[in-house]
Amino acid sequence: MSAATQAGAVKKKKKKYQGRIYVDRERCKGCGFCVEFCPFGALELETDYNAKGYHPPFLAHEDKCNGCDLCGLYCPDFAIFSEKIRVED
């Protein structure tokens, strides 16, 4: 687990859970399901292409993600999933 991730994870928030998002950029086909159906609008598509010419998602609003993993459930390419991590408040 990279330091960057951990840094994000420990940000103080008023909710109990926070999400950690993993994206397999090369597996993503840019369908946008994850972005659209994230209940909190936490994701956006990159403007960059992956090798196949698709725009993968990234956690644009990390504070909004609660790790519900709906993005993971929607993804037809198994390219994204989340971890729920407990956050002390």
């Binding site: 990279s2 960057a4 950029r25 459930l73 037809p76 999933f81």
Partner: protein, 293 residues
Amino acid sequence: MTTQVAEANTPINPVEPFLRMDRMPHIWCPGCGIGTTVNCFARALTSSGYDLDKVAIVSGIGCTGRVAGYLNLDSFHTTHGRAIPFATGLKLANPELKVVVYSGDGDLIAIGGNHLIHAARRNIDITVVCVNNMLYGMTGGQVGPATPNTAIASTAPYGAFEQPFNLPFLADSCGAVYVARWTSYHVRQMTRAMREAMAKPGFSFIEIVAPCPTLYQRRNRLGDGLDAMKYYKQRSTRKDGASTRDVDIDFQGDIVVGKFIDRERPTFLQAMNHRFTERLGSRYTPYPTGLED
């Protein structure tokens, strides 16, 4: 930030153990709904707690027919239309197996229609997941038995004009014990339905309406997979227990979703044991049904 490119030391996607990762990426197009259903199926398996060594999956031929090949189970990619009779042989020869048939509308209801109605009638103890993308994906988007009227397809270039099947009604009329419909938008409900159907003794049938952006959406100028998902979200109405007679789907019309049928009747093997025992008495040793506990 919490976005992270998967690396050796990152946790793996929880569905990976259910998938043959050595075969990824899969063949499905961007925005194809099949992958979403598989994602849900993997999670239904997780939460069901079955011994996965005892779950077998059988597909016919088609885009959806490739599902068997991606699931990390004993998996059978058979011939077009014949997944159900293959599954019948598999299940009857080893009732201990949980057998799921996973295939497309063309496979299960066009060429395979006869097997579907007979397996439902016999109440063979299998679960059938039918991904209904309303046409033949694999072969390039031909009209099929679930294509709604006026929709364009490669062999209906001026729009389909045959009335499509109302699949839940058909399955119901043949005696399926569990009949539900969801769309690929309904990921949580679909996951639960899959779990319920697998737990249900007898022939269970789940229709999942899903987008084929490459062929159906594009030819009909309906945008991409995401547009289809938005349409499902907008136009689906949940009506559990709705009369199956009333759940037709029109071109871009309302979609009634929900669990329509959930009834009890003896499975093929239960009925067989009952009959033979009644007739042959002690000369007959009951055959395992997979439902003993």
